[in-house]
Amino acid sequence: MNAPVHHQTLVTPEKPKALAAGQFKVTARDVDVFYGDKHAIRKLSIDIPDRAVSAFIGPSGCGKSTFLRCINRMNDTIPTCRVTGDIKVDKNDIYDPKIDVVQLRAKVGMVFQKPNPFPKSIYENVAYGPRIHGLAASKTELDEIVEKSLRKAGLWEEVKDRLQHPGTGLSGGQQQRLCIARAIAVNPEVILMDEPCSALDPIATARIEELIDELRQNYCIVIVTHSMQQAARVSQLTAFFHLGTLVEYGDTDEMFTAPQEKRTQDYITGRFG
């Protein structure tokens, strides 16, 4: 586990690269990903710190989602997908055959691009994860977890009177927050978000962004986004992907003001992408 001593420095990290390797939540070394013959990620290495938001940006098809899905082994569901290299969460190799992928996914939660609540009640949506992981010993404990998660996701006030209504009956923004509540209900340490706001209007987006900002106090958050403004608003670190490689990774403010690489500069200023 990371020592929480570094929080303060990490919330607005001066230079993330200065951190000792052991203080990163997720570390990847020389990761290659193939879809059949297609080489989607090339020799990617990255260190993602805890209790901070890292944003992945880059043109479409550059491999942001692919890499994100490697971190909780969601790619296992794609039969043609092959991952080589080394990805560690808390210094544990997640592609080790001994690792239990179910435990991993409980630890590394995910929020998808399109809100995908289960077609069940709001309560059931949140309670499902804790239940299958045996996190609650009693009904009251489960109720507490549900309430806590919905509160953290900023949805409690809106749904507390209709917990038994179907989750699919909520608005798009509410559904996405429900999905976030569902993800945090199983006590993850890392939350992966793949374009969580792309299906939402600006007001719902603002709410989610606020939420992400609150959540980073306790979680390691990785968010894929196509919006530079969003990356600038919510993230402390930004990684720029291009054609399956990680071009540049560093402090968000620095990246947007003084990128090291020409390609990053071109992308940020809208010259391609």
């Binding site: 969601m74 399109k114 995908n116 994860g129 299958i132």
Partner: protein, 502 residues
Amino acid sequence: MTEVRNELVRKRYAAERRFRFYGAAALGLTALFLAFLLVDIVSKGLPAFRETSVEVDVTVDAAEVDPANLAGGNYDKMIKEAFRAEFPDVKGRTERKALSALLSSGGADTLRSMVIADPALIGKTVTVPVLLGDDADLFLKGLLTRVKTTAGAMPLHIAQLDGEEGFVLTGDKAGEEAERQLGLAAGDVIRFKGGALRVTGPQNGYLKAEPIFAPDPAITTLAAGQWDVLAFSVPESNRRISDAQVLWLDQLKSEGRIETSFAWRLFEAGDSREPELAGIRGALIGSLLTVLVAISLALPLGIAAAIYLEEFAPKNRWTDLIEVNINNLAAVPSIIFGLLGLAVFLNFFGMPRSAPLVGGLVLALLVLPTIIIASRAALKAVPPSITEAALGVGASKQQAVFQHVLPLALPGIMTGTILGLARAFGETAPLLMIGMVAFIADIPSGFTSAATVLPVQVFLWSDLPEMAFQSRTAAAIIVLLVVLFALNAVAIYLRKRFERRW
């Protein structure tokens, strides 16, 4: 420019109108065929749902019934004798036979069960509703011939010529005028108190008639209103009921002794050689048992196979091959499955012939591909985002499938299954191969007793020469259709009721 555009728009609208017309025409034609089929079957089958009987006062002869063996009494004889006794004028052997032929042998069963229920009836006279034979029944339903009865409007002279067969009919005028004047045609029956004659037609200038019931020689003139003319739409030689029988039935009817009631027998009896006694209960129960076996095998196997193939099986050449073959299997003619059943279940495993168990096994093989394909389609229709969501919170693949995907796919699976079940219910050909086509009068008592199924019963009856069986056939088809429509209705209901949006 706008000219060209207008022209294009006009053409487009015309094309659309044409297409709509074609569609409507196709639909209309289909509806017409369907309506024709339905009307035909219903009009043929409805009469079979009613049966006619005549009330006969029967004396239960103590000499014919052994109190120790009530079931063994000769009840048929008692009924026939009681019935003949009501027509004392009928003397000749053939006439008496024709008279008895009006009654069904089923009347004996009615009387037998009455006596068994109350042995005190022995020696007493009881009124028994005796079922009429199939021809009498059909006649009374108006299916053999139409009869037009008109009262004689003028005096009729009957004369028996010396040395010649038959009678001469004359009106007030004689000779050639007579036929026209009386309005009589060959085949018409003249009925009057004390006799009945059949008009044979003009001969040597006379209108001649032959006796059905020979009249008293004393009768020579019938006043207007004393006689009736019965005109038939089908001549006697072409119908299964004689003029004499018609007259007897008419008499019984005018005495108010003919009763028509709902034919529960149709649903309570097994097959029989006598159309009026034949019912579909045996076939219906056979169908039920067969489909039960089929579905309790095909449903779990089919769903399990579909889940495995769709969710768990590796996607490789072997699973592709299996998939292609399942699709091929669904297209195999059903009789092939019958041959397979014959070779494997009967000849190799030595299972009993004609048994619902074997029929069910064959039908299970038959509907398995349908169920697998429908279930796979239903599973595939569940969006992958649901699986991803479940996996994302740390559910195992199995949990994701059984707790999220399967419940969402279930309405689709159920619909497919019920349609498969309907197919099994209506299947005939493969069952012929395994001997479910025999004449079986007993109601099947279990999965291994000899049985037939409803569609095969239809097939069997449709082949029989008796006209009454054609009506029964249509009635059995109606029952079959009702069951199939009910199954489809359940499928639609399930789909609508459990359909979920995501």
